[in-house]
């Protein structure tokens, strides 16, 4: 008996995988009905400083929607670390919300599960047509050639944040526009316990975002035309090496940044230990760490030519949140109405302003709130020089495998081990093998 009990204890790990996919499993084939026209369940991602703040921000808007349509929206704000697992569980069980937010990099992966309502022409027309949305933001809603799995809701891009006083102290008048300038500026600043650039070496997604953009600038994609991983191309290796070299060769990133994973690099920036960070909409975090808005400046992320654009002059991944409708919804009409409401010009202006993001709806971008020194840079980057991450179903595997490879390379650099083209290639080759399983 004791053996049996011990055995069942050990089954917890098995159960971990089993429970998530074992209970339920009943996606109705056609999906979608109008059985429950009076209510909607909405899973919002955590966009504000915390979950409570999100409830306060969204609450009045949902009331507005209820007054207009008579549909009551039950809101649940899901923290980021849980969101993907929650969506996976909902997909497996068929029991999920009616409407939900997804990170736009997950679009193709979730599209492949078939759990989300495809946004064909008919559905898009119901919310005002594709033409209302920024074209690059639409590119981040699913695999090319398929009906989008979601609709853009909030958009974000990377910018270079710099500490004005530290630049002045080092005799630098302009923020860098090319990487050579950035390295030169960084070297002038990096002495006496101060550092040029901050990095978040332990944060896999951030590593991916930086490597992806540098890859574009080297003319490399991490996936080839047929969607197969191509991590070890010359361009990809050069891109990753360039990023690691900021620490290994140029020594403008502090070695300690190799283990940062909880946004410590933003804290270092706010406390004047590093002069520059590459980040998306960091204003609220700086303010929370006690930095005044006039103490930092914003500039576009450097590109080889100095002028951001498309192709090799790409300087940001197109980050953002999409809104999707769960295929099994019992209120299909209401769900579409809700997406229409959330992507209406007025809501787009209001919500993006509150969250510090940029509206993917072009008409809403004309608000003066998106023309301040920081938001203007983000807006211009979004419309001119941002590209979505590869829209492939293996995206999350890509983030884990290549993100880990970069984390390990940072660890090598921090420990003083040499980082060479060969060692970068070896790490990336290992990441590529992991994708093949």
């Amino acid at each position: 008996m004791r053996i049996l009990r011990a055995a069942t204890i050990t089954a917890t790990v098995t159960a971990l995988a089993a429970v998530a996919s074992g209970c339920g499993g009943g996606t109705s084939p056609g999906g979608g009905s109008d059985d429950a026209p009076g209510t909607l369940t909405y899973w919002a991602s955590n966009q504000g400083p915390n979950v409570e703040a999100d409830k306060k921000i969204l609450g009045p808007e949902l009331k507005k929607f209820e007054r207009r349509t008579g549909i009551k929206v039950r809101l649940e704000v899901v923290p980021w670390p849980e969101l993907l697992n929650r969506i996976l569980t909902a997909t497996t069980s068929g029991q999920g919300p009616d409407v939900l937010n997804i990170g736009n990099t997950w679009s193709a992966s979730l599209q492949a599960t078939g759990a989300l309502l495809p946004w064909d022409k008919k559905n898009f027309d119901a919310i005002g047509g594709r033409g209302r949305f920024l074209a690059p933001a639409l590119d981040a809603t699913g695999a090319a050639g398929k009906d989008p799995a979601a609709v853009p809701l909030y958009s974000l891009a990377y910018a270079l944040y710099y500490n004005k006083q530290m630049f002045k102290d080092a005799g630098i008048s302009e923020p860098p526009a090319t990487w050579d300038e950035l390295v030169a500026d960084g070297k002038r600043i990096a002495k006496g316990g101060k550092w040029g650039l901050g990095a978040e070496g332990g944060q896999l997604t951030n590593n991916i975002h930086q490597a992806f953009v540098l890859g574009k600038q080297h003319g490399a994609d991490f996936f080839d035309g047929s969607g197969k991983p191509a991590f070890t191309s010359d361009g990809a290796v050069a891109a990753v090496k360039q990023y690691i070299d900021f620490m290994a060769k140029d020594k403008i990133i502090a070695p300690g940044n190799a283990e940062y994973g909880q946004n410590q690099s933003l804290r270092d920036f706010a406390t004047g230990r590093t002069a520059m960070v590459l980040w998306q909409a960091a204003a609220t975090t700086f303010a929370a760490d006690g930095m005044k808005p006039d103490e930092w400046g914003v500039a576009p992320v450097p590109v080889p030519s100095g002028t951001p654009g498309t192709g090799r002059q790409t300087n940001s991944m197109l980050a953002g949140i999409n809104i999707a409708v769960f295929k099994n919804t019992h209120n299909l009409h209401g769900a579409r109405e809700f997406v229409k409401f959330m992507t209406s010009d007025a809501e787009q202006r209001l919500l993006n302003k509150t969250y510090g993001s940029i509206p993917p709806v072009t008409a809403a971008q004309r608000d003066p709130a998106f023309d301040r020194q920081d938001t203007r840079v983000l807006r211009d980057t979004l419309t001119r020089s941002a590209t979505p991450l590869p829209q492939v179903a293996e995206e999350s595997q890509f983030e884990t495998s290549v993100g880990t490879a970069i984390k390990d390379l940072f660890a090598d650099a921090a420990a003083g081990h040499p980082v060479t083209t060969a060692s970068v290639t070896a790490r990336l080759a290992k990441a590529e093998q992991q994708m093949a399983q």
Binding site: R2, I3, A6, A7, T8, I9, T10, A11, T12, V13, T14, A15, L16, A17, A18, V19, A20, S21, G22, G25, G26, T27, N85, L88, T91, T92, G94, S109, A112, T113, G114, A115, G202, L204, A254, P255, G256, A258, E259, G261, Q264, A393, S396, Q397, T400, G403, T404, K407, D408, A411, A414, A415, K430, Q433, Q434, A436, Q437
Partner: protein
């Protein structure tokens, strides 16, 4: 028709066991069986929406996991060896610390209650809060550990990384032992209460010293208790998930890549539940064999001692 009295009497215990059995099936066995079934399927993101449609893989998932020349199998083997080393060290240290502390606190002295309470705190703290505190203490630049080891005591040349590279194994071990040893302490302390005082008095009259008393009376009396304690500690540390997950995040360093984390990565992060289940089943089989072997060996040992 009347049920014969004999059968009725014999059937009663089973009848009483029925609810427990049903729950056992529901909570433990059904998920286990589903997990085993999943391990024979090619269950990826394409099929989780309706996982009945996932194609059968036969032994394909297993073949991938035990092919130690290919990356998947090789990393699994590495992770397995790391976990074995980790478990042996963790169980040993937890048991040693717990037993030592329990023995010292047997003597009645002022402040004993307070010390007992302090010793039990790590066990009572919420795992996340405790481990995230350790994560901050282990930070290279601002962490307490490096401040003490490097800045104050000058024991290390440079500031080592604790959450990256090879040192991460030591960091993980320290946190896990810190978190688990109070359990061993608690159990051994309870066990010590049941040893009759007369035994020690008699031994003392015969001139046995402290160490001899521990070796001849305390440890043999604790034997059945230790048998269970070590097994439970082993199963816990072998399946340890929370600590490395909070300490290192999604990607644990190679030196501290415990099996549970590794399996989580192979299934949840990459959405490949078939391979993940196959690994889990192998883990289950391994633990079954170890547990059965351990119980057989220790029980036989006890019988000899009883003769």
């Amino acid at each position: 028709m009347r049920i014969p009295a004999g059968l009725r009497r014999a059937g009663l215990p089973y009848l009483l066991l029925l609810p427990a059995l049903a729950l056992e099936l529901l909570v433990h066995l059904v998920p286990m069986v589903i997990g085993i079934v999943m391990s024979f399927k090619d269950l990826t993101r394409l099929h989780i929406g309706d996982w009945g449609t996932a194609p059968w893989e036969g032994l394909g998932n297993y073949r991938v996991t035990v092919d130690f020349d290919a990356p998947v199998g090789a990393t699994l083997l590495h992770s397995f060896l790391v976990t074995c080393a980790f478990s042996v060290l963790s169980v040993g240290l937890c048991w040693l610390l717990g037993t030592a502390a329990a023995l010292f606190l047997q003597e009645d002295f002022r402040g004993r209650g307070l010390l007992r309470a302090v010793f039990l705190t790590p066990y009572a703290l919420p795992v996340y809060a405790a481990v995230i505190t350790w994560a901050f203490m282990f930070q290279r630049d601002n962490g307490l550990v490096n401040h003490v080891l490097h800045d104050q005591l000058h024991l290390t040349d440079g500031r080592p990384f604790w959450l990256l590279g090879d040192h991460s194994f030591a960091a993980l071990l320290v946190v896990c032992v810190w978190k688990t040893w109070p359990f061993a302490f608690l159990v051994v302390m309870a066990g010590l209460q049941s040893i009759p005082k007369e035994l020690y008095e008699a031994a003392a009259l015969d001139g046995a010293g402290m160490l001899r008393q521990i070796r001849r009376i305390t440890l043999p009396s604790l034997r059945p208790l230790n048998q269970v304690l070590v097994l439970v500690l082993f199963l816990w540390s072998f399946n340890e998930f929370n600590t490395p997950y909070v300490l290192f995040g999604k990607a644990a360093p190679e030196a501290a890549d415990l099996l549970s984390i590794h399996i989580y990565q192979s299934s949840f992060v990459t959405w490949n539940f078939g391979t993940g289940s196959a690994m889990s089943v192998l883990l289950l089989l391994f633990l079954l064999v170890v547990t059965a072997g351990y119980l057989l060996a220790t029980s036989r040992g006890r019988k000899h001692a009883d003769d």
